[in-house]
Amino acid sequence: MLREKKSEGTIASLTVDKLSKTFAGREILKELSFQVADGEFCVLLGPSGCGKTTLLRIVAGLETASGGTVSIGTARVDALAPRDRDVAFVFQNYALYPHMTVFDNLGFSLRLHGVPKKEIHARVTEVAQMLEIGHQLDHKPQQLSGGQRQRVALGRAIVRRPKLFLFDEPLSNLDATLRTNMRVELARLHGRLRSTMLYVTHDQAEAMTLGEKIIVLDRGEIQQSGAPGEIYHRPMNLFVAGFVGQPQMNFIEGRLDGHGKLHTEAGVEFDLFSTVGGRAAPDSQLTVGIRPEDLRRCASTDARFAGTAEFVEDLGSDCFVHLDCGGLKLVARLPAQDPIKLGQRIDLNVDPERVHLFHQKRRIDLT
């Protein structure tokens, strides 16, 4: 999702330096450091339990870190109470004030900061129109639908015009179609507000559509951070490669012989001499990674893989074929036009340029 870069605004960037957190003996965050530029939409992506929510709560001040610092703009905030950090936090289950109307929910923070009534009314109604919840202002949260409640939670953050927006998986409670719509709305919203946003999710589709920068976390450590395309097309380690991409990348173990030829467990060979060169010692273990969409059908003569279709997921737009190539399980993403029947034998090949190579879990660049 391309958005034009915003000129230097007043919205400060976020700096996290060597942040660590241990709880009951367990190391949850291990000296993380990263930056979020002004107005940038940064996504923290990772499986549940990887510490991404804890990190977000530490930035918000709802939890204290065991070490490291957090700064918004130039000021260090890790010693400040949440209310002094000028951040907004959109909770997973919205955390709306059940005893207040939507209008009061939206205007609550302004009231606390002593903003005059007239201005509160103006800003609240403006945001309400923007989020199409203008005619729910005097309802109570219980009377709203899930989507509406989610928008009120969002509105509550927007009204404040905070230095930093924090999102804790705000879409996870919505149904699929509503979730895709809200993704687009969030992205459009970011485009208009140009505020710095830190967004936590385990849903990679959200990460890819929303994130201008994605930080992949696992077990409290940053696996990789970069633009969505970068993360998808040049995963720096096995974890990122496996985690990003649906369905998951195929992995094939293999051993490099003296002449740059890779012998894989399925008996398939790859001539990598020209690409690997001297960068991998002979006889070392390598892992080959092939994205399902990179596998294409070909004539049996120059087929690199041949297998029978064990299971076919037909999604209409295309279909995922689960193949058994003599014990090696592969998944290929083939166009829906030529449907594959169960048990059918097909031949596949891959453009060597698009193959990913990993040695001891680290990526080896082919070019």
């Binding site: 918000a60 001040g61 709802l62 109470a81 949440p82 209310r83 951040v87 907004a88 936090f89 909770f91 289950n93 955390a95 709306l96 004030y97 059940p98 005893h99 609550f108 923070s109 606390l112 900061h113 509550r156 404040r160």
Partner: protein
């Protein structure tokens, strides 16, 4: 079949709780000879001079007034203090938080009779004997343990993220408590309030030795003044008890839904 059994249970419970009390209330409308007539007279002859005597001669109304003042002040202050403590114990991860809760529970186990003497000396030292603040301070101490327990368990069940949203929106802990937590905790506060109120309304021994000015004496002491050295005016005591219990019954009738809802910790779904 289940319907009948259930209806039977309802009637049984109603009878078990109400009949003994109704028998005593009926004594308030019986003449002196009817009250302890042998064999007992089941239906009273409905005359009202016991009520007149209880109110006019024994000054029942000012005992009730004193009890209302003492019980209300105790409830308001006790719940205010207990809410603060309960909130802190539920929200801040204090290493000694659990110890403090257990200490409070232990304190409530100590027989009040035994600490009546030292409390009397304390109030005497403070010059608070025969004063509202004296008896109220003692009652707050007596009721705090179970008030804090109820409120701490209740706050702990309240969904935390609503409060965190308030902190983010700019509340201090105090503002978060006042503007967001207390409105949501109303049922819990109510339950603790009713229990504290009833405890203060019923307490006898402390009031006996602390409040000796007629102008300050509360209801249980007032009713203990009804009997003569050898005479037991059942009629007047029954009348006084009926009048004294009505406000409480009315109170509980109005708020009974809130009470039960409060006790079921975590009843508020975020």
């Amino acid at each position: 079949m289940r319907r009948i059994a259930f209806a039977g249970a309802v009637v049984a419970i109603g009878a078990f709780t109400l009949l003994p009390f109704l028998w005593f209330v009926s004594a308030s409308w019986k003449s002196a000879t009817e009250i302890n007539s042998i064999p007992p007279v089941l239906w009273p002859s409905f005359h009202w001079d016991h009520y007149r005597a209880a109110i006019a001669e024994h000054g029942l109304l000012h005992y009730i007034a004193n009890s209302v003042i003492v019980a209300t002040a105790t409830t308001l202050l006790s719940i205010a203090i207990a809410a603060l403590a309960g909130f802190a114990l539920a929200r801040f991860r204090l290493p000694w938080g659990r110890f403090y809760l257990m200490l409070l529970l232990a304190l409530s186990m100590f027989p009040q009779i035994a600490i009546a003497g030292p409390i009397w000396r304390l109030l005497n030292f403070l010059g608070w004997l025969n004063s509202y603040q004296g008896i109220v301070a003692a009652y707050i101490a007596l009721s705090l343990p179970f008030a804090v327990w109820i409120l701490a368990t209740f706050f702990q069940e309240l969904p935390y993220d609503i409060e965190e949203a308030a902190l983010i929106d700019g509340c201090s802990r105090w503002q978060a408590l006042r503007l967001v937590v207390l409105p949501l905790a109303a049922p819990g506060l109510f339950t603790a309030a009713i229990l504290v109120f009833i405890h203060a309304w019923n307490e006898f021994f402390f009031a006996l030795i602390i409040l000796t000015y007629p102008a300050r004496q509360t209801l249980p002491v007032g009713i203990a003044l009804f009997p003569g050295e050898y005479t037991m005016p059942w009629g007047e005591i029954a009348a006084a008890s009926t009048i004294a219990t009505l406000p409480l019954v009315a109170l509980t009738l109005i708020f009974q839904r809130r009470i039960v809802q409060g006790l079921s910790a975590g009843a508020v779904k975020g």
